[in-house]
Assembly symmetry: C2
Homo-oligomer: 477 residues x 2
């Protein structure tokens, strides 16, 4: 009897255990179901393949010294690595010996880490049927209302330009817009004037101003160059001055050289007038201002520029020119640019602008400290100025270092840096300055900048050993 | 004792049931886990948000008479519907009364359903850090190797052009490339010749040939027009003829008018030389051929054109022009275009080309049947020709109907169609033909085409009632 009793207890215990196990499995099943259905809800349909493909390509590491792209050369079904300067090999792991430090380039790749950190908000899916028509539904508009709103918000966030009551024209990069501006302005009085319009820019300046006008060889405008070459006796024809502020290559805020008058107008190239490059003393309010995505966010490959224009006639002629030349802009490009600009204008814009400003300030501190130890070279001076974006005085953080070789025997400064320091800079002559200048870029990838700094430190430290001193005839600039 | 025995049986049964339930729940849990982990494997990270957003916008139906786009005007956090022609209202459900049938437009939107059906393969994710630099790693190349390979494969699949040993130049749409071609060709002997290069095109022709040359007003070329205006006594300067084949607006295969000679060269505008628009008697092998994504796939908004060029010097000057004018093309655009072209070239290309050909053939059958009943109007004749792509003789399927008003009193054919039939066509004068012609587009959305056909049927059927007959002085063309 006692045995039966004990046997029953064992059975009761077994039932209890099995019951508890059942409850356990039931709860687990419910949990899995809910987790699964959560995932089910976020399951994608037609965009899944493209998203998987993009993530797979992005996950190719290339040793941290290169990148694989969706449109990169495919070998064995996988896009190959494209190596950064000075790296090679299938996985970019080989450092090329004696590779010149890249300070020539103007690709603003120091922004890249920001966009990789903000991958989620900056990605965009282009559907196969996205805006297939030539134009937007409103045929008088060549950009979407959302992009226009975002550009206006951007200037208000950065506090760098007044856009209320101004027109926004867009083009394939700032360079294309400059074509449109030059054409538009020079046509203003073309029919009533026998003289072609004359364009000026104070050297050193961005070479494109001259190149494009020389290259296109139209009948109604010509590039003259230095404003000091405009004689008071010059008669006839409209006169236009390109004012780059902050200047390229020097990075200082600039005003026009030519005195105003009924026939004199200014084109303000403001592509560097952003809080990461310069103090913003006040929002700019010029008649015609040019900006670009390249300099602002680093998306040079996207090719978007815009102009803020006061005069409706100039704006209309620019739109007409862009329409005639390009039949509108790529709608894929405009969608990509909108996505990027929405990230920049999130909140008060501090996240983006501070990221970029801190890198450039740090780079300028390092490079200006090195050159301060040199007797052979001098660099531009940029004053500390009050910035309304940061609400404080702000240290310089230009995009370029503009170096002068001060010794008389250093006739070609670019050669000096290449041959003696293995640093590839941009010749000063490219900016219509003389050969004793060279421009060293500060907007490159971190690896390029680190290489530049390490070569420079070594190079400048050798000055003392070599006993260099400055020829008395040449002073510090 | 018997009671205890029965009680034990119940307990055994309970244990058995509970055991089976446990096994059941355990298996279910395993199943859920495996399903979940399958989903987990396909879970996306940074691209999920963009993909979800794109699918959410694509799912806005707009009553089937409009579309919402990612960069559409946002109201209450959602992009608004953009309605097709003749529709209005927040969800595009309102048909606008007495709306003119749209036969004016050149947006090739009849392709849209193909891209919506092939949404998965044609979507692309643009990462925030996609090709931020101005140029491709190989600075001599202005397109990716993959895009170049795909363009060559495309011509081989469509059997419409020889690309082996030819250069591929790209530009912002075919229009931009035409700028580059004109510039490149006219510079060939510019330095050695005192005369500007002369450009000709047999009317009726694409108006852009004249507009761009007139508009840009460069010193080294001018547009003359009809090749018959070239006198034998004309001396000096190079001579170029634009040959559009198939022609726009007529859709027939054409050869040059000007006789060849050392100073005479041809620019073949081949944007309609694809199996959906015309028979392909043989792959074209002209010195300079222009193609565009707009006409091929309907992606006019993407703005991509390319040229197949035999002469390396012409190719290099075109590249230089595009670089000077635009500083390269948008890398986002090129990635989008590559994705689209990869879909077109899948397999033998039949899926895409047959889709487009069948629609256009059907449209031509319908519209040519209607006009065959008319005494008042005539349309172009396109012969049935053998097509090497289809390997059979092929019925016409042009992009446009080129209509002539035959009655002397119908001085303006565009007005006749607008006022008497409420059909908006493209004036013949826009193609340098006279006002007795009008072009009716056949590449519009299905709804636009259906409206055109229904209005036309009614209009032509009234001829008999109105007792129209043709003035004896004008014959069928």
């Amino acid at each position: 009897m006692a045995k039966i009793q004990r046997c029953n207890y064992v059975l009761y215990l077994l039932v209890l255990i099995l019951l508890m196990m059942n409850i356990f499995f039931f709860i687990k099943e419910l949990e899995s179901k809910s987790k699964c259905s959560e995932q089910e809800k976020r399951k994608l349909s037609w965009s899944q393949r493209a998203a998987e493909e993009a993530e797979a390509v992005a996950s190719i590491s290339c040793s941290g010294h290169g990148k694989a792209y969706l449109d990169g050369l495919v070998v064995d079904g996988i896009p190959t690595c494209e190596c950064y300067t000075c790296y090679a090999g299938p996985d970019c792991s080989l450092l090329i010996p004696n590779c010149s430090a890249n300070a020539f380039g103007w690709d603003p790749l120091f922004y890249e880490p920001f966009w990789m950190e903000n991958a989620e908000s900056s990605a965009v899916v282009i559907a196969g049927w996205h805006r297939m028509a030539y134009s937007f539904p409103d045929p008088t508009s060549h950009l979407s209302q959302e992009l226009e709103k975002t550009i206006r918000k951007l200037h208000s966030v950065a506090k760098n330009a007044i856009t209320d009551g101004r027109y926004i024209a867009i083009g394939v990069g700032a360079s294309r817009l400059l074509n449109a501006v030059v054409h538009s302005l020079s046509m203003e009085n073309y029919s009533s004037s026998p003289y072609p319009a004359k364009f000026f820019a104070k050297p050193p300046h961005y070479p494109f101003y001259k190149l494009q006008t020389d290259y296109l060889q139209t009948r109604h405008y010509e590039f003259i160059g230095d404003p000091s070459m405009l004689n008071d006796t010059d008669v006839g024809g409209d006169v236009f001055e390109f004012v780059t502020s902050p200047s390229n290559p020097e990075g200082n805020l600039e005003g026009p050289v030519l005195k105003g008058g009924p026939n004199v107008k200014y084109i303000f190239d403001r592509v560097y007038y952003w809080p990461q490059f310069t103090a913003i003393p006040a929002p700019a309010d010029d008649d015609l201002m040019i900006f670009s995505l390249s300099k602002l966010t680093g998306h040079a490959g996207t090719r978007l520029g815009w102009a803020v224009v006061k005069d409706v006639n100039v704006y209309n002629r620019m739109k007409e020119y862009i329409h005639q030349a390009d039949m509108e802009m790529s709608k894929d490009t405009l969608l990509g640019a909108l996505t990027i600009l929405r990230v920049v204008t999130e909140g008060d814009g501090k996240k983006f602008f501070n990221f970029a400003h801190e890198i450039l300030r740090d780079r300028w501190e390092k490079i200006s400290h090195i050159f301060s130890l040199s007797k052979r070279f001098s660099i531009q001076h940029i004053p500390t100025q009050y910035c309304t974006f940061l609400n404080r005085a702000r240290e310089p953080s230009p995009a370029f270092t503009w170096v002068k070789c001060k010794r008389e025997e250093d006739k070609n400064c670019t050669h000096v840096f290449l041959e003696e320091a293995n640093i590839r800079g941009h010749p000063g002559s490219g900016f219509f300055a003389d050969h004793t200048y060279v421009r060293l870029g500060l907007v490159t990838r971190q690896h390029d900048f680190d290489m530049l700094i390490s070569r420079l430190e070594q190079f400048i430290s050798q000055e003392e050993e070599n006993g260099y001193c400055i020829s008395p005839s040449i002073n510090n600039q």
